[in-house]
Amino acid sequence: MAVYKKTYRPYEGPLTASWSRFLVIRRYAFEDLRRSRFLTIFYLASFIYPLICALIIWVEHNASALKLLNLEQASRLIGVDAGFYMTLLGWQSMMALFLAAFIGPGLVSPDLTNNALSLYLSRPFSRTEYVVGKLAVLLTLLSLMTWVPGLLLYALQSYLEGWDWAAAHTRIASGTFLGAGIWILLIALLALALSAWVKWKPAAGALLFGIFFVASGFGGAINAVQDTKWGYLLNVSNLVGTVWVQLFEGDDPTNNGAVFFRQAPGSVIPVWLCWAALLVLCLACLYMLSRKIRGAEVVR
């Protein structure tokens, strides 16, 4: 056997925490997105509605402004309550869905097309970390569109109205955070799963919309033909809306859903079933990802 002189220099210094390495994936993903002028404009435009809401809250607490605008009764017209925040969340969530449909399909499919997964997975980097890294890209962007402005507006309202108001409306804060969290996690998982299975990006984006709109239409058809309400289980926005109502208003709601997730009369299905259906959908996405995110493509 040959005798070799070992002269290479393996790295023996400190390593970053393994849990934090998924953040490397975000680093260049954001840079890639920043290059798209359309996405940048769309993203900035998504903050218009929260700014309008902030203006409404400010005006409502500014007597001279109300008087100047001859809107002394405005506070009765626009109540800053759970409905106000659910409407904000509903609008922002719709914007988030559009953004996910634009960005999501480009996150996983290029890596699969370019066989880049072996690059990640031949390093001390697991499939879970890869998925979490890709999810982090979407979750960061979508968080800034949804629960972050929602909580900022809650803080603004609390500041102007008094901390008693904040204490009495903690459900608004928790509902905003959890409600938005469920929504963005769901659409991020759906976007990644579709990106993993559908390599043509426009098709993957269209499918994401299809899941929300075509499936709800299909569910509606089932309801009409079978004279039942269980078709609403296919209506993802209906499921989320029901969960939101519970999060914002508890078990005794006065609202039947946010603007974009309004439920038709008689369509109410048990909240636990909505949670279960959303959980199944998330698990299905994870299963789809686990089937595709592999170090080596298996060709049978």
Binding site: M1, A2, Y4, K5, K6, T7, Y8, R9, P10, Y11, G13, P14, L15, T16, A17, S18, R21, V24, R27, Y28, E31, D32, R35, G106, P110, D111, N114, N115, A116, L117, S118, L119, Y120, L121, S122, R123, P124, F125, S126, R294, G295, A296, V298, V299, R300
Partner: protein
Amino acid sequence: MSNRLITFGEVSRFYGEVLGINRVNLAIPPGITSLVGPNGSGKTTLMNLMTGLIRPTRGDIRVLGVRPDEPEKLGPLIGYCAQFDNFPKGLTGYQFLYSFLRIRGMNDAECEERTRTALATVNLAEAAQRPVAAYSKGMRQRIKLAQAIAHDPQIVVLDEPLNGLDPMARAETIELFQEWGGKGRHVIVSSHILHEVDRISDQVILLSHGYVVAEGQIQGVRSEVKDQPMQILIRCDQPNALAARLFLQDHVVEAKIHPDGKGILLRTTDADQFYLMLNRIVLETGMEVESVAPADDDVNSVYQYLIGGEGGTT
């Protein structure tokens, strides 16, 4: 000792009902080891197994004593260069190397230094800020090699690294392999370019249909192939006389005068007997022998004898 080897113990890997590799037993020492075999013989499966990208259906693999399903321990030891171009979209050469070093957990300064060193090693320093997508085939192959060695691994696994390289780039790349092998690394290379494999390999592993057909130093493998007469080229000043003497021997199967009339190409079933006899002939006749060299103890010949005719290989 086993901590310096890559070992496969009765390893099999099936893709559903399709065989990847079956009952493979190997102990790969440091140096350049070439995996040779036709398409579908199991080369890439073997590489994917040792890099932990896939798990064996059964059997045990140890890479310098580490199990491939322990990525935190295995990752620092291995650098892998896949067969196909595998670049995340939109990155420059520098970003590509840097980000994949960060995934290994190195800090910013270390990653920057190693990125620059790796780029210089493969002569891509000037193209560092260009998108990888704009690189030529040879440049892409080199940046792939750079990412495999940027963290200074003990094992470099290279799947078809010479594919698509022009002769100049190929020579430079082979030089890199030899340099890495010379530093005591395990350099595992799969290649279809057999004459190149022959030049660089310390040992070869021949695969066919998922089985290891032969392994070891190529001359040793050749001497084990008893059913194929050994070919020996003798350059001398009296080829006709030599041929006449040789034909009297039972172990000589064929003796052909070289086209330039200054040698014989001999096929014999007993090379040791031939060498003894050649000494006698030289002493008795006084003929001048310029050189005696085996003509078929290269990878290409062994490949033809053991696997031959299965296609897919040049």
